[in-house]
Amino acid sequence: MRLLLVDDNERLSRLISASLAKAGFETDVFATAAEAAAAVESLLYSAVILDLGLPDQDGLALLKRLRASGNALPILILTARGGIEDRVRGLDAGADDYLVKPFAQEELIARLRAMLRRPGGLLGGALELGTLRLDTVSRQVTLGENPQFFSPREIAVLEILLRRSGRVVPKKVVEDHLFGLSGNLQSNAVEVYVHRLRKQLAEAGADVAIHTVRGVGYLVAQVS
């Protein structure tokens, strides 16, 4: 899988490419918006990692130009600008995700994977966290080698949490996702599914746990 990294800091680019290579991604690095635009036109990339402070042009302008030309490539902004307004501006301009420097390489890789696994994304197959694996096509859940059995709705909840693993998924989003699947939903339905998932994962000795952020939503994370 080929990624495009647009960043004018040579050392950082080299370090990012190295850790992406370990995660199985090939990376092309360009330092200017002009070179990046030319590369996107001539080569097929799976995703773009875009720095905003480029020497020749603002990264946001490049992003807007790509989106205006109908390019739907997943784009992650990687920038030193961390304000909420900057984030909103980036996402409004059409970025799929936004990561502020300095960052953990692991997080960058996890976000890239999540981006590529989105419906229509290139990593269609499986969602993984620790030893937990969910095949989004066959709807099979495994812990290491052992298959786990869940109801379709429980799998749906697990899927949406795994797609954003390490981040809080608002309860409303989980509810809307389930509501889309069936008709009506009891008010505490999500809690019931999460409770069952959590219980079974704990009994099976999983290295992932579902945390409740009361009043906000849920978060699945690896147990450290």
Binding site: L12, I16, A18, G83, V100, F103, R214, V216
Partner: protein, 456 residues
């Protein structure tokens, strides 16, 4: 005058002095004028009397003079009436006729003067007032002298003069006092743009560098000063902005080297050394984020129409920080109102404030405990932890920048609560801390309620 630092006081004092001077001078001047007028009236009356007498003076063919006064006039000038006297005097000083029968002039007059002259001799006890009027009858110039006893002068005119000072002059004083009162109001009116400008100037500070004094309605005399002050404020604001931008730019610039440092640390083979380094880098990252927050909160201005949903902000903060809390084996929960709570404020700044407050709580809450965020319907946000709490003597100090107490130090900079306090103040709200009944600290952020505009 040095003691009177206020323009208004100076004007009032100077004005009062001027009014007092007028109070004295005006009656005197008027008295002098009235007196002069009364005197002129007397003189005219005497002159007319002299001319009247002259009308009855004839020269007989034998060169003798005859004076044939009617009975009424004879009565008027009679000795028994004792009010008026007259004498008709020749150039030689010899009196032709006289009230007093002794052929003496009433007063010695200048035989060469062709104009009426006036006298005020004392005769015995009585004060006389007299006029000597030259008339020409049958080719010879004669002087008709009229005298009047001062005690019997024209009563009306004398009364006006005599009564003027004690009665009429006092009318001037209330009028002038009323003038002073009106002037006080005029001064107040004239100084109002200055007063308004000073009230506005009170608001200018590091957080409100955008304010300028109004030049439009300023008096012409004060306008150059106001303009100069505004220009000075422009320069100061540019300096402030430069400094803030420098701070924010420097902090932003540090993020890329930190990202490199972190990437390098993560690629180390010695996991133990790597995780220690990464923890340090995370501490530095926090400080840099807080410096950026500080630069932003210093330039924060909350506009009148800024609105934020504090409930959504708290939920966003909880979602934002939950992964960090979970990684430390801690938890966050949001409770209270679940509907949007609209407050007067800037979303991004309030997010920073609540984030710093919750980050602080996560740091201090004991492992396996929960940081509670409670939202009240009036927009109050309470963040409580289950940590060691804040001792009463530190409750002010923890909001100071770079405070070096236990609570502030753990994350390196001790900036977090200062940022919270700064942002809350900029919103016109206030923050307080107390200890929970069991254990832990309870921070309460109160934001002023939205003033309901008419027509809303």
């Amino acid at each position: 005058m040095i003691l009177l630092s206020s323009i208004r006081d100076r004007l009032i004092v100077l004005h009062l002095i001027a009014v007092l001077a007028v109070c004295v001078a005006l009656p005197l001047a008027l008295y002098w004028r009235v007196d002069a007028t009364a005197r002129a009236l007397h003189e005219r009356a005497l002159r007319e009397q002299a001319e009247q007498i002259a009308g009855y003076l004839h020269r007989l063919p034998d060169k003798r003079w005859s004076l044939d006064l009617p009975e009424q006039l004879r009565q008027l000038y009679s000795v028994s009436y004792d009010r008026y006297g007259f004498a008709i005097v020749r150039r030689s000083g010899e009196a032709l006729f006289s009230t007093y029968q002794h052929d003496q002039p009433l007063f010695g007059n200048d035989p060469h003067s062709n104009r009426p002259s006036y006298f005020e001799p004392n005769e015995g006890q009585a004060r006389l007032f007299g006029a000597s009027v030259p008339v020409t009858v049958a080719g010879e110039t004669l002087w008709i002298q009229i005298s009047q006893d001062q005690a019997h002068r024209d009563v009306l005119i004398d009364d006006i003069v005599a009564e003027f000072l004690p009665h009429t002059a006092w009318v001037i004083i209330p009028i002038l006092l009323a003038l002073v009162c009106v002037d006080l109001m005029i001064f107040g009116q004239a100084l109002q743009p200055l007063m308004r400008a000073s009230a506005l100037a009170q608001l200018i500070g590091p957080t409100r560098t955008d304010l300028r004094l109004p030049e439009g309605r300023m008096p012409r005399e004060a306008a150059p000063l106001v303009r100069a002050i505004n220009e000075a404020l422009d320069r100061l604001e540019r300096g402030f902005i430069t400094q803030r931008e420098f701070l924010a730019d420097a902090a932003h610039e540090l993020r890329t080297p930190l990202a490199i440092l972190r990437a390098e640390a993560e690629s180390l083979h010695n996991r133990e050394a790597a995780s220690a380094l990464i923890a340090d880098i995370e501490g530095m990252t926090r400080i840099i984020n807080q410096l950026i927050d500080i630069a932003e909160s210093d330039s924060l201005t909350v506009k009148e129409d800024d609105r934020a949903d504090i409930q959504a902000i708290c939920t966003d903060v909880a979602a934002f920080l939950a992964p960090i809390a979970v990684a430390q084996g801690k938890c966050i929960a949001v409770s209270g109102v679940t509907e949007p709570v609209c407050v007067h404020g800037k979303s991004s700044a309030l997010f920073q404030a609540i984030r710093n407050l919750v980050e602080n709580a996560i740091t201090y809450t004991a492992p396996a405990t929960t940081v509670e965020i409670v939202i009240d319907a009036d927009g109050t946000v309470v963040v409580s932890d289950e940590g060691p709490g804040v001792s009463p003597d530190q409750r002010e100090a923890i909001f100071q920048r770079f405070w070096r107490g236990d609570r502030g130090r753990a994350n390196g900079a001790g900036l977090g609560l200062a940022i919270v306090s700064r942002i809350v103040k900029a919103h016109g709200g206030h923050i307080e801390v107390r200890n929970a009944r069991t254990n832990g600290a309870v921070f309460a952020v109160r934001l002023p309620p939205i003033a309901v505009a008419p027509g809303d």
